[in-house]
Amino acid sequence: MSIIILLFILILAAFLSLFLGTFPISPVEIIYTIIGKNVPDTYRTVIYDIRLPRVLFAVAVGSGLSVAGASYQSIFKNPLVSPYILGVSSGAAFGAALAILLHQNVYVMQTFAFFFGILATLLAYFLAKEKGRVPVLSLVIAGVIVNSFFQALVGMAKYFADTQNQLPSIVFWIMGSFSGVDWDNVSVLIVILVGIGVMYAIRWYLNIMSMDDEEAKSLGVDVDKFRKVIIVVSTLITASAVSVVGIIGWVGLIIPHVSRLIVGPDNVKVIPVSILLGGLFLLIADDLARTITTGEIPIGILTSLVGAPFFAYLYHLQRR
Protein backbone atom coordinates (compact mmCIF):
# COMPACT_ATOMS: atom_id res chain seq x y z
CA MET A 1 0.00 0.00 0.00
CA SER A 2 2.71 2.47 1.00
CA ILE A 3 4.46 1.48 -2.21
CA ILE A 4 1.55 2.64 -4.41
CA ILE A 5 1.25 5.90 -2.50
CA LEU A 6 4.99 6.52 -2.76
CA LEU A 7 5.01 5.71 -6.46
CA PHE A 8 2.20 8.21 -7.01
CA ILE A 9 3.99 10.91 -5.01
CA LEU A 10 7.24 10.26 -6.88
CA ILE A 11 5.63 10.57 -10.31
CA LEU A 12 3.81 13.70 -9.24
CA ALA A 13 6.97 15.22 -7.78
CA ALA A 14 8.94 14.38 -10.93
CA PHE A 15 6.28 16.04 -13.06
CA LEU A 16 6.16 19.16 -10.90
CA SER A 17 9.96 19.34 -10.89
CA LEU A 18 9.81 20.09 -14.61
CA PHE A 19 8.22 23.42 -13.68
CA LEU A 20 11.17 24.47 -11.54
CA GLY A 21 14.22 26.30 -12.76
CA THR A 22 15.86 29.63 -13.39
CA PHE A 23 14.83 29.95 -17.03
CA PRO A 24 11.57 31.89 -17.06
CA ILE A 25 8.79 29.80 -18.55
CA SER A 26 5.29 30.01 -17.17
CA PRO A 27 3.53 26.80 -16.05
CA VAL A 28 0.99 27.19 -18.86
CA GLU A 29 3.76 27.37 -21.44
CA ILE A 30 5.36 24.29 -19.91
CA ILE A 31 2.12 22.36 -20.25
CA TYR A 32 1.86 23.57 -23.85
CA THR A 33 5.39 22.29 -24.42
CA ILE A 34 4.61 18.91 -22.92
CA ILE A 35 1.38 18.38 -24.83
CA GLY A 36 3.14 19.41 -28.02
CA LYS A 37 1.62 22.78 -28.81
CA ASN A 38 3.47 25.29 -30.89
CA VAL A 39 6.07 26.88 -28.60
CA PRO A 40 9.54 28.36 -29.16
CA ASP A 41 12.34 25.78 -29.61
CA THR A 42 14.16 27.10 -26.56
CA TYR A 43 11.25 25.95 -24.41
CA ARG A 44 11.54 22.43 -25.74
CA THR A 45 15.28 22.51 -25.15
CA VAL A 46 14.84 23.67 -21.57
CA ILE A 47 12.19 21.07 -20.75
CA TYR A 48 13.42 18.04 -22.65
CA ASP A 49 17.18 18.53 -22.79
CA ILE A 50 17.89 20.27 -19.51
CA ARG A 51 15.18 19.70 -16.94
CA LEU A 52 13.94 16.24 -17.92
CA PRO A 53 17.35 14.51 -17.87
CA ARG A 54 18.12 16.25 -14.63
CA VAL A 55 14.89 15.04 -13.04
CA LEU A 56 15.42 11.49 -14.31
CA PHE A 57 19.00 11.45 -13.07
CA ALA A 58 18.09 12.78 -9.66
CA VAL A 59 15.49 10.02 -9.28
CA ALA A 60 17.73 7.26 -10.68
CA VAL A 61 20.77 8.26 -8.63
CA GLY A 62 18.70 8.58 -5.46
CA SER A 63 17.10 5.19 -6.05
CA GLY A 64 20.40 3.60 -7.04
CA LEU A 65 22.37 4.86 -4.05
CA SER A 66 19.57 3.79 -1.71
CA VAL A 67 19.37 0.30 -3.16
CA ALA A 68 23.17 -0.04 -3.09
CA GLY A 69 23.11 1.13 0.52
CA ALA A 70 20.35 -1.28 1.52
CA SER A 71 22.10 -4.21 -0.11
CA TYR A 72 25.45 -3.33 1.48
CA GLN A 73 23.77 -3.04 4.86
CA SER A 74 22.51 -6.58 4.36
CA ILE A 75 25.73 -8.20 3.23
CA PHE A 76 27.76 -6.36 5.86
CA LYS A 77 25.13 -7.35 8.43
CA ASN A 78 25.23 -3.79 9.69
CA PRO A 79 22.55 -1.08 9.34
CA LEU A 80 25.14 1.71 9.47
CA VAL A 81 27.00 0.94 6.26
CA SER A 82 26.95 3.22 3.21
CA PRO A 83 27.55 2.34 -0.46
CA TYR A 84 30.93 4.06 -0.19
CA ILE A 85 32.35 1.61 2.36
CA LEU A 86 34.57 -0.20 -0.13
CA GLY A 87 36.16 2.98 -1.47
CA VAL A 88 34.20 3.64 -4.64
CA SER A 89 33.68 7.34 -3.84
CA SER A 90 37.30 8.02 -2.86
CA GLY A 91 38.51 6.20 -5.94
CA ALA A 92 36.13 8.15 -8.16
CA ALA A 93 37.14 11.42 -6.53
CA PHE A 94 40.77 10.69 -7.30
CA GLY A 95 39.91 9.73 -10.87
CA ALA A 96 38.06 13.01 -11.37
CA ALA A 97 40.85 15.00 -9.72
CA LEU A 98 43.44 13.33 -11.91
CA ALA A 99 41.47 14.15 -15.05
CA ILE A 100 41.20 17.77 -13.92
CA LEU A 101 44.95 17.93 -13.30
CA LEU A 102 45.56 16.53 -16.76
CA HIS A 103 43.30 19.22 -18.29
CA GLN A 104 40.87 16.67 -19.67
CA ASN A 105 37.30 17.36 -20.74
CA VAL A 106 34.25 16.42 -18.75
CA TYR A 107 33.71 13.05 -20.45
CA VAL A 108 37.25 11.91 -19.78
CA MET A 109 36.74 13.06 -16.20
CA GLN A 110 33.59 10.96 -15.86
CA THR A 111 35.32 7.96 -17.37
CA PHE A 112 38.27 8.36 -15.02
CA ALA A 113 35.95 8.73 -12.04
CA PHE A 114 34.02 5.61 -13.03
CA PHE A 115 37.06 3.41 -13.54
CA PHE A 116 38.97 4.60 -10.50
CA GLY A 117 35.83 4.02 -8.43
CA ILE A 118 35.71 0.44 -9.71
CA LEU A 119 39.46 0.06 -9.26
CA ALA A 120 39.27 1.13 -5.62
CA THR A 121 36.52 -1.41 -4.91
CA LEU A 122 38.43 -4.16 -6.70
CA LEU A 123 41.49 -3.36 -4.60
CA ALA A 124 39.44 -3.58 -1.41
CA TYR A 125 37.86 -6.83 -2.56
CA PHE A 126 41.09 -8.59 -3.41
CA LEU A 127 42.76 -7.24 -0.30
CA ALA A 128 40.02 -8.90 1.72
CA LYS A 129 40.08 -12.17 -0.16
CA GLU A 130 41.64 -15.12 1.59
CA LYS A 131 41.56 -18.70 0.33
CA GLY A 132 38.64 -18.05 -1.98
CA ARG A 133 36.55 -16.55 0.80
CA VAL A 134 35.78 -12.91 1.46
CA PRO A 135 34.89 -12.43 5.12
CA VAL A 136 32.88 -9.35 6.02
CA LEU A 137 35.30 -8.09 8.63
CA SER A 138 38.21 -8.27 6.19
CA LEU A 139 36.13 -6.33 3.68
CA VAL A 140 35.44 -3.57 6.19
CA ILE A 141 39.13 -3.26 7.05
CA ALA A 142 40.14 -3.36 3.39
CA GLY A 143 37.56 -0.63 2.71
CA VAL A 144 39.06 1.57 5.41
CA ILE A 145 42.55 1.08 3.94
CA VAL A 146 41.52 1.78 0.36
CA ASN A 147 39.38 4.78 1.33
CA SER A 148 42.16 6.44 3.27
CA PHE A 149 44.69 5.72 0.53
CA PHE A 150 42.59 7.31 -2.19
CA GLN A 151 41.65 10.19 0.05
CA ALA A 152 45.35 10.84 0.49
CA LEU A 153 45.76 10.78 -3.28
CA VAL A 154 42.91 13.26 -3.64
CA GLY A 155 44.67 15.45 -1.08
CA MET A 156 47.84 15.25 -3.09
CA ALA A 157 45.96 16.14 -6.28
CA LYS A 158 44.51 19.18 -4.55
CA TYR A 159 47.97 20.18 -3.35
CA PHE A 160 49.40 20.07 -6.87
CA ALA A 161 46.38 21.68 -8.51
CA ASP A 162 46.58 25.31 -9.57
CA THR A 163 44.47 27.38 -7.24
CA GLN A 164 42.83 29.40 -10.02
CA ASN A 165 40.84 26.73 -11.82
CA GLN A 166 41.82 23.19 -10.93
CA LEU A 167 41.47 23.33 -7.17
CA PRO A 168 37.95 24.80 -7.26
CA SER A 169 36.96 22.25 -9.92
CA ILE A 170 38.10 19.38 -7.74
CA VAL A 171 36.40 20.78 -4.67
CA PHE A 172 33.14 21.40 -6.52
CA TRP A 173 33.21 17.98 -8.13
CA ILE A 174 33.54 16.32 -4.74
CA MET A 175 30.59 18.28 -3.38
CA GLY A 176 28.37 16.88 -6.10
CA SER A 177 25.98 18.43 -8.57
CA PHE A 178 23.39 17.44 -11.16
CA SER A 179 24.03 20.57 -13.22
CA GLY A 180 26.28 18.82 -15.73
CA VAL A 181 23.79 16.07 -16.50
CA ASP A 182 22.46 15.70 -20.03
CA TRP A 183 21.35 13.03 -22.50
CA ASP A 184 24.98 12.16 -23.31
CA ASN A 185 25.01 10.38 -19.96
CA VAL A 186 22.12 8.14 -20.85
CA SER A 187 24.29 5.01 -20.74
CA VAL A 188 24.99 5.75 -17.09
CA LEU A 189 21.28 6.03 -16.48
CA ILE A 190 20.76 2.61 -18.07
CA VAL A 191 23.47 0.97 -15.97
CA ILE A 192 21.89 2.36 -12.81
CA LEU A 193 18.41 1.20 -13.79
CA VAL A 194 19.60 -2.30 -14.71
CA GLY A 195 21.48 -2.51 -11.40
CA ILE A 196 18.36 -1.50 -9.51
CA GLY A 197 16.42 -4.16 -11.42
CA VAL A 198 18.88 -6.88 -10.44
CA MET A 199 18.75 -5.90 -6.77
CA TYR A 200 14.99 -5.82 -6.88
CA ALA A 201 14.92 -9.35 -8.29
CA ILE A 202 17.17 -10.83 -5.59
CA ARG A 203 15.80 -8.74 -2.73
CA TRP A 204 14.43 -11.59 -0.63
CA TYR A 205 17.83 -13.24 -0.57
CA LEU A 206 19.24 -10.07 0.98
CA ASN A 207 17.46 -11.15 4.16
CA ILE A 208 19.42 -14.39 4.24
CA MET A 209 22.64 -12.61 3.32
CA SER A 210 22.23 -10.49 6.45
CA MET A 211 22.46 -13.62 8.59
CA ASP A 212 25.72 -15.23 9.67
CA ASP A 213 27.67 -16.67 6.74
CA GLU A 214 27.51 -20.23 8.07
CA GLU A 215 23.83 -19.91 8.71
CA ALA A 216 23.14 -18.56 5.23
CA LYS A 217 25.15 -21.44 3.77
CA SER A 218 23.24 -23.99 5.77
CA LEU A 219 20.08 -22.51 4.25
CA GLY A 220 21.43 -23.42 0.84
CA VAL A 221 22.84 -20.07 -0.27
CA ASP A 222 26.24 -19.85 -1.95
CA VAL A 223 27.26 -16.94 0.23
CA ASP A 224 30.57 -16.01 -1.39
CA LYS A 225 29.18 -16.02 -4.89
CA PHE A 226 26.12 -14.06 -3.86
CA ARG A 227 28.19 -11.50 -2.03
CA LYS A 228 30.35 -11.05 -5.10
CA VAL A 229 27.30 -10.44 -7.30
CA ILE A 230 25.89 -7.90 -4.87
CA ILE A 231 29.21 -6.06 -4.60
CA VAL A 232 29.60 -5.97 -8.39
CA VAL A 233 26.07 -4.66 -8.97
CA SER A 234 26.22 -2.12 -6.13
CA THR A 235 29.61 -0.90 -7.28
CA LEU A 236 28.41 -0.46 -10.86
CA ILE A 237 25.41 1.53 -9.64
CA THR A 238 27.45 3.68 -7.29
CA ALA A 239 30.41 4.24 -9.60
CA SER A 240 28.04 5.22 -12.44
CA ALA A 241 26.18 7.65 -10.22
CA VAL A 242 29.26 9.18 -8.66
CA SER A 243 31.10 9.53 -11.97
CA VAL A 244 28.43 11.88 -13.32
CA VAL A 245 27.13 13.73 -10.28
CA GLY A 246 30.00 13.58 -7.78
CA ILE A 247 29.84 12.38 -4.21
CA ILE A 248 26.41 12.55 -2.66
CA GLY A 249 26.40 11.51 0.94
CA TRP A 250 23.70 10.33 3.28
CA VAL A 251 21.22 9.02 0.72
CA GLY A 252 22.57 5.47 0.68
CA LEU A 253 22.74 5.37 4.44
CA ILE A 254 19.61 7.16 5.51
CA ILE A 255 17.01 6.03 2.99
CA PRO A 256 17.22 2.29 3.75
CA HIS A 257 16.93 3.24 7.42
CA VAL A 258 13.81 5.31 6.88
CA SER A 259 12.39 2.54 4.71
CA ARG A 260 12.92 0.00 7.47
CA LEU A 261 11.19 2.32 9.91
CA ILE A 262 8.19 2.44 7.60
CA VAL A 263 7.87 -1.20 6.47
CA GLY A 264 10.09 -3.21 8.83
CA PRO A 265 13.37 -4.97 8.01
CA ASP A 266 12.10 -7.44 5.37
CA ASN A 267 13.99 -6.56 2.18
CA VAL A 268 11.09 -7.71 0.02
CA LYS A 269 9.51 -4.42 1.08
CA VAL A 270 12.61 -2.42 2.01
CA ILE A 271 14.05 -2.49 -1.52
CA PRO A 272 11.01 -1.12 -3.40
CA VAL A 273 10.38 1.47 -0.70
CA SER A 274 14.07 2.47 -0.78
CA ILE A 275 13.92 2.82 -4.55
CA LEU A 276 10.92 5.15 -4.39
CA LEU A 277 11.94 7.06 -1.28
CA GLY A 278 15.54 7.48 -2.45
CA GLY A 279 14.42 8.81 -5.80
CA LEU A 280 11.98 11.18 -4.14
CA PHE A 281 14.51 12.40 -1.59
CA LEU A 282 17.20 13.24 -4.13
CA LEU A 283 14.68 14.75 -6.53
CA ILE A 284 13.44 17.16 -3.87
CA ALA A 285 17.00 17.85 -2.71
CA ASP A 286 17.99 18.72 -6.28
CA ASP A 287 14.90 20.88 -6.74
CA LEU A 288 16.03 22.82 -3.69
CA ALA A 289 19.64 22.88 -4.90
CA ARG A 290 18.67 24.60 -8.13
CA THR A 291 15.97 26.94 -6.86
CA ILE A 292 16.86 28.25 -3.38
CA THR A 293 19.57 30.56 -4.67
CA THR A 294 20.28 32.02 -8.09
CA GLY A 295 23.39 29.88 -8.27
CA GLU A 296 23.50 26.22 -7.38
CA ILE A 297 23.98 24.75 -3.97
CA PRO A 298 26.13 21.62 -4.22
CA ILE A 299 23.78 18.68 -3.80
CA GLY A 300 26.18 16.74 -1.57
CA ILE A 301 26.07 19.55 0.96
CA LEU A 302 22.31 19.80 0.80
CA THR A 303 21.66 16.09 1.35
CA SER A 304 23.83 16.13 4.46
CA LEU A 305 22.35 19.39 5.63
CA VAL A 306 18.84 17.96 5.35
CA GLY A 307 19.81 14.37 6.07
CA ALA A 308 21.61 14.85 9.36
CA PRO A 309 18.85 16.64 11.28
CA PHE A 310 16.22 14.37 9.76
CA PHE A 311 18.16 11.34 10.85
CA ALA A 312 18.63 12.83 14.31
CA TYR A 313 14.88 13.30 14.51
CA LEU A 314 14.18 9.71 13.42
CA TYR A 315 16.73 8.39 15.85
CA HIS A 316 15.07 10.37 18.58
CA LEU A 317 11.64 9.01 17.61
CA GLN A 318 12.90 5.47 17.54
CA ARG A 319 14.39 5.68 21.02
CA ARG A 320 11.38 7.20 22.69
Binding site: A201, I202, S210, L219, V221, D222, D266
Partner: protein, 262 residues
Protein backbone atom coordinates in the same frame (compact mmCIF):
# COMPACT_ATOMS: atom_id res chain seq x y z
CA UNK B 1 21.23 -45.80 6.79
CA UNK B 2 20.17 -42.18 6.68
CA UNK B 3 23.63 -40.77 7.20
CA UNK B 4 27.07 -42.31 7.09
CA UNK B 5 30.38 -40.68 7.96
CA UNK B 6 33.40 -42.70 6.92
CA UNK B 7 37.05 -42.22 7.89
CA UNK B 8 36.70 -38.47 8.08
CA UNK B 9 39.73 -36.30 8.82
CA UNK B 10 39.71 -32.55 9.23
CA UNK B 11 42.28 -29.91 10.13
CA UNK B 12 42.49 -26.16 9.74
CA UNK B 13 46.19 -26.68 9.08
CA UNK B 14 47.76 -29.69 7.39
CA UNK B 15 49.86 -30.75 10.36
CA UNK B 16 47.24 -30.42 13.06
CA UNK B 17 44.16 -32.60 12.84
CA UNK B 18 41.01 -31.49 14.62
CA UNK B 19 39.16 -34.66 13.62
CA UNK B 20 40.82 -38.02 13.16
CA UNK B 21 39.31 -41.04 11.46
CA UNK B 22 35.68 -40.37 12.37
CA UNK B 23 33.27 -43.11 11.38
CA UNK B 24 29.67 -43.49 12.43
CA UNK B 25 26.20 -43.89 11.00
CA UNK B 26 22.71 -42.76 11.75
CA UNK B 27 19.38 -44.46 11.10
CA UNK B 28 16.07 -42.80 10.42
CA UNK B 29 14.33 -41.70 13.61
CA UNK B 30 17.53 -41.76 15.62
CA UNK B 31 18.90 -39.06 17.89
CA UNK B 32 22.64 -39.17 17.98
CA UNK B 33 24.56 -37.14 20.54
CA UNK B 34 28.17 -36.05 20.41
CA UNK B 35 29.71 -35.67 23.84
CA UNK B 36 33.14 -34.29 24.56
CA UNK B 37 35.12 -31.59 26.31
CA UNK B 38 35.45 -28.07 24.91
CA UNK B 39 37.57 -28.09 21.79
CA UNK B 40 37.22 -31.80 21.17
CA UNK B 41 35.84 -31.18 17.66
CA UNK B 42 32.09 -31.63 18.10
CA UNK B 43 31.01 -28.48 16.28
CA UNK B 44 33.69 -29.03 13.68
CA UNK B 45 32.26 -32.46 12.94
CA UNK B 46 28.77 -31.03 12.50
CA UNK B 47 30.15 -28.44 10.11
CA UNK B 48 31.88 -31.12 8.06
CA UNK B 49 28.58 -32.95 7.66
CA UNK B 50 26.98 -29.71 6.53
CA UNK B 51 29.77 -28.81 4.09
CA UNK B 52 30.46 -25.64 6.06
CA UNK B 53 33.94 -27.10 6.41
CA UNK B 54 35.70 -29.29 3.93
CA UNK B 55 37.20 -32.51 5.29
CA UNK B 56 40.76 -33.37 4.26
CA UNK B 57 39.88 -37.03 3.88
CA UNK B 58 36.85 -39.22 4.20
CA UNK B 59 33.30 -39.11 2.95
CA UNK B 60 29.85 -38.23 4.18
CA UNK B 61 26.89 -40.05 2.67
CA UNK B 62 23.29 -38.99 2.92
CA UNK B 63 21.23 -41.99 1.90
CA UNK B 64 23.42 -43.27 -0.90
CA UNK B 65 24.61 -39.87 -2.07
CA UNK B 66 28.02 -38.44 -1.37
CA UNK B 67 27.45 -34.88 -0.10
CA UNK B 68 30.13 -33.60 -2.46
CA UNK B 69 27.78 -34.41 -5.31
CA UNK B 70 25.06 -32.18 -3.88
CA UNK B 71 24.96 -28.44 -4.48
CA UNK B 72 24.11 -25.99 -1.68
CA UNK B 73 20.39 -26.06 -2.25
CA UNK B 74 20.19 -29.83 -2.61
CA UNK B 75 22.14 -30.31 0.60
CA UNK B 76 19.94 -27.81 2.44
CA UNK B 77 16.91 -29.88 1.47
CA UNK B 78 18.46 -32.89 3.21
CA UNK B 79 20.17 -31.28 6.20
CA UNK B 80 19.13 -28.37 8.39
CA UNK B 81 21.39 -26.76 10.93
CA UNK B 82 20.77 -25.05 14.23
CA UNK B 83 23.75 -22.79 14.94
CA UNK B 84 25.21 -22.51 18.41
CA UNK B 85 25.26 -18.74 18.70
CA UNK B 86 22.66 -16.77 16.91
CA UNK B 87 21.57 -13.23 16.56
CA UNK B 88 20.34 -10.93 13.87
CA UNK B 89 21.51 -7.40 13.10
CA UNK B 90 18.05 -6.53 11.87
CA UNK B 91 14.82 -6.94 13.83
CA UNK B 92 13.21 -9.46 11.47
CA UNK B 93 9.91 -10.85 12.63
CA UNK B 94 9.57 -14.47 13.68
CA UNK B 95 7.82 -15.16 10.38
CA UNK B 96 10.64 -13.51 8.37
CA UNK B 97 13.22 -15.70 10.11
CA UNK B 98 11.27 -18.94 9.68
CA UNK B 99 10.57 -18.14 6.03
CA UNK B 100 14.33 -18.21 5.43
CA UNK B 101 14.09 -21.94 5.96
CA UNK B 102 12.27 -22.11 2.63
CA UNK B 103 15.33 -20.83 0.74
CA UNK B 104 16.29 -24.26 -0.64
CA UNK B 105 12.98 -24.30 -2.50
CA UNK B 106 12.89 -20.68 -3.67
CA UNK B 107 14.53 -19.51 -6.90
CA UNK B 108 17.28 -16.91 -6.75
CA UNK B 109 15.10 -14.31 -8.42
CA UNK B 110 11.96 -15.10 -6.43
CA UNK B 111 10.42 -14.31 -3.10
CA UNK B 112 8.49 -16.74 -0.87
CA UNK B 113 5.16 -17.81 -2.33
CA UNK B 114 1.87 -18.17 -0.46
CA UNK B 115 2.67 -21.85 -0.05
CA UNK B 116 6.02 -21.02 1.53
CA UNK B 117 4.34 -18.62 3.94
CA UNK B 118 1.81 -21.31 4.80
CA UNK B 119 4.52 -23.88 5.51
CA UNK B 120 6.43 -21.39 7.64
CA UNK B 121 3.29 -20.64 9.61
CA UNK B 122 2.68 -24.33 10.12
CA UNK B 123 6.21 -24.80 11.43
CA UNK B 124 5.72 -21.87 13.81
CA UNK B 125 2.51 -23.46 15.02
CA UNK B 126 4.30 -26.78 15.59
CA UNK B 127 6.72 -25.16 18.02
CA UNK B 128 3.90 -23.21 19.66
CA UNK B 129 5.02 -19.70 18.68
CA UNK B 130 1.97 -18.57 16.71
CA UNK B 131 1.23 -15.78 19.20
CA UNK B 132 4.62 -14.24 18.55
CA UNK B 133 4.63 -14.60 14.78
CA UNK B 134 4.95 -10.87 14.08
CA UNK B 135 7.23 -10.08 16.99
CA UNK B 136 10.82 -9.00 16.26
CA UNK B 137 13.15 -11.96 16.66
CA UNK B 138 15.69 -9.73 18.40
CA UNK B 139 13.29 -9.13 21.27
CA UNK B 140 12.74 -12.81 22.08
CA UNK B 141 14.24 -14.69 25.00
CA UNK B 142 16.93 -17.34 24.47
CA UNK B 143 14.44 -20.19 24.68
CA UNK B 144 12.03 -18.53 22.25
CA UNK B 145 14.86 -17.90 19.80
CA UNK B 146 15.77 -21.58 19.87
CA UNK B 147 12.16 -22.50 19.17
CA UNK B 148 12.06 -20.11 16.22
CA UNK B 149 15.22 -21.66 14.80
CA UNK B 150 13.73 -25.10 15.26
CA UNK B 151 10.66 -23.91 13.39
CA UNK B 152 12.97 -22.68 10.63
CA UNK B 153 14.66 -26.07 10.49
CA UNK B 154 11.22 -27.67 10.18
CA UNK B 155 10.23 -25.24 7.43
CA UNK B 156 13.39 -26.33 5.67
CA UNK B 157 11.78 -29.76 5.46
CA UNK B 158 15.08 -31.65 5.76
CA UNK B 159 15.25 -35.14 7.18
CA UNK B 160 18.46 -34.65 9.09
CA UNK B 161 18.81 -32.02 11.79
CA UNK B 162 22.20 -30.87 13.03
CA UNK B 163 21.87 -29.21 16.41
CA UNK B 164 24.93 -27.47 17.77
CA UNK B 165 24.39 -27.21 21.51
CA UNK B 166 20.63 -26.76 21.39
CA UNK B 167 20.61 -26.18 25.15
CA UNK B 168 23.26 -23.49 25.52
CA UNK B 169 22.12 -20.26 27.21
CA UNK B 170 18.88 -21.96 28.24
CA UNK B 171 17.59 -22.08 31.79
CA UNK B 172 17.11 -25.36 33.64
CA UNK B 173 13.54 -25.91 32.59
CA UNK B 174 13.97 -24.74 29.00
CA UNK B 175 16.77 -27.24 28.42
CA UNK B 176 14.28 -30.02 29.06
CA UNK B 177 11.42 -28.31 27.23
CA UNK B 178 13.44 -27.74 24.07
CA UNK B 179 14.98 -31.21 23.99
CA UNK B 180 11.62 -32.87 24.67
CA UNK B 181 10.07 -30.99 21.76
CA UNK B 182 12.95 -31.85 19.49
CA UNK B 183 12.69 -35.50 20.46
CA UNK B 184 8.95 -35.57 19.88
CA UNK B 185 9.33 -33.97 16.46
CA UNK B 186 12.07 -36.36 15.43
CA UNK B 187 10.10 -39.41 16.51
CA UNK B 188 6.75 -38.24 15.12
CA UNK B 189 8.13 -37.29 11.74
CA UNK B 190 10.75 -39.96 11.34
CA UNK B 191 13.57 -37.42 11.14
CA UNK B 192 17.09 -37.96 12.38
CA UNK B 193 19.24 -35.66 14.48
CA UNK B 194 22.83 -35.21 15.45
CA UNK B 195 23.38 -32.90 18.37
CA UNK B 196 26.20 -31.80 20.58
CA UNK B 197 25.62 -31.57 24.32
CA UNK B 198 27.67 -30.83 27.39
CA UNK B 199 25.34 -32.35 29.93
CA UNK B 200 25.74 -36.12 30.19
CA UNK B 201 22.41 -36.44 31.95
CA UNK B 202 20.55 -34.73 29.12
CA UNK B 203 22.41 -36.97 26.69
CA UNK B 204 21.22 -40.06 28.60
CA UNK B 205 17.62 -38.97 28.58
CA UNK B 206 17.27 -37.67 25.05
CA UNK B 207 19.54 -39.70 22.81
CA UNK B 208 19.47 -43.13 21.24
CA UNK B 209 23.12 -43.27 20.36
CA UNK B 210 26.17 -41.49 21.70
CA UNK B 211 29.65 -40.87 20.42
CA UNK B 212 32.34 -39.62 22.74
CA UNK B 213 34.80 -37.32 21.10
CA UNK B 214 38.18 -36.60 22.66
CA UNK B 215 40.99 -34.72 20.91
CA UNK B 216 39.27 -35.28 17.61
CA UNK B 217 38.88 -39.03 17.99
CA UNK B 218 35.85 -41.13 18.82
CA UNK B 219 36.75 -43.06 21.95
CA UNK B 220 33.38 -44.70 22.46
CA UNK B 221 30.37 -45.09 20.20
CA UNK B 222 27.11 -46.98 20.49
CA UNK B 223 23.68 -47.10 22.11
CA UNK B 224 23.31 -44.98 25.25
CA UNK B 225 22.99 -47.94 27.62
CA UNK B 226 26.23 -49.45 26.39
CA UNK B 227 28.38 -46.37 26.10
CA UNK B 228 27.37 -44.17 29.00
CA UNK B 229 29.31 -45.83 31.77
CA UNK B 230 31.68 -44.56 34.44
CA UNK B 231 34.77 -45.83 32.69
CA UNK B 232 34.07 -44.09 29.40
CA UNK B 233 32.96 -40.82 30.96
CA UNK B 234 36.00 -40.81 33.18
CA UNK B 235 38.26 -41.23 30.21
CA UNK B 236 36.36 -38.60 28.23
CA UNK B 237 36.41 -35.82 30.79
CA UNK B 238 39.50 -36.91 32.74
CA UNK B 239 37.70 -36.72 36.04
CA UNK B 240 36.26 -39.13 38.57
CA UNK B 241 32.63 -39.81 37.75
CA UNK B 242 29.91 -41.85 39.41
CA UNK B 243 26.64 -43.00 37.92
CA UNK B 244 23.78 -43.49 40.35
CA UNK B 245 20.63 -45.42 39.73
CA UNK B 246 17.84 -43.55 41.46
CA UNK B 247 14.43 -45.14 40.94
CA UNK B 248 15.56 -46.51 37.58
CA UNK B 249 16.93 -43.20 36.41
CA UNK B 250 20.61 -43.05 35.72
CA UNK B 251 22.28 -39.92 36.99
CA UNK B 252 25.84 -38.89 36.23
CA UNK B 253 27.68 -36.95 38.91
CA UNK B 254 31.31 -36.00 39.40
CA UNK B 255 33.10 -37.13 42.54
CA UNK B 256 33.40 -33.79 44.25
CA UNK B 257 36.39 -34.42 46.49
CA UNK B 258 38.57 -35.41 43.55
CA UNK B 259 37.88 -32.10 41.83
CA UNK B 260 39.43 -29.95 44.52
CA UNK B 261 42.61 -31.99 44.57
CA UNK B 262 43.77 -30.59 41.22
Amino acid sequence: MKLKVKNLYFGYKKSFKVLKDITFSLKQGEIFTLLGPNGSGKSTLLKCINKLLKPQKGVVFIGDKNINELNEKELAREVSYLPQEHNSSFPYTVLDIVLMGRAPYIGLLSSPSKKDVMMAKKAIETVGMTDLINKPYTELSGGQKKLVLIARALAQDAEILLLDEPTNHLDFKNQYVILSRIKKLIKNRGLSAIMTLHDSNLAMIFSDKVAMLKNGKIIAYGPVEEVMNERNLKELYEMEIEIFNIENRMIVLPKLNTLTER
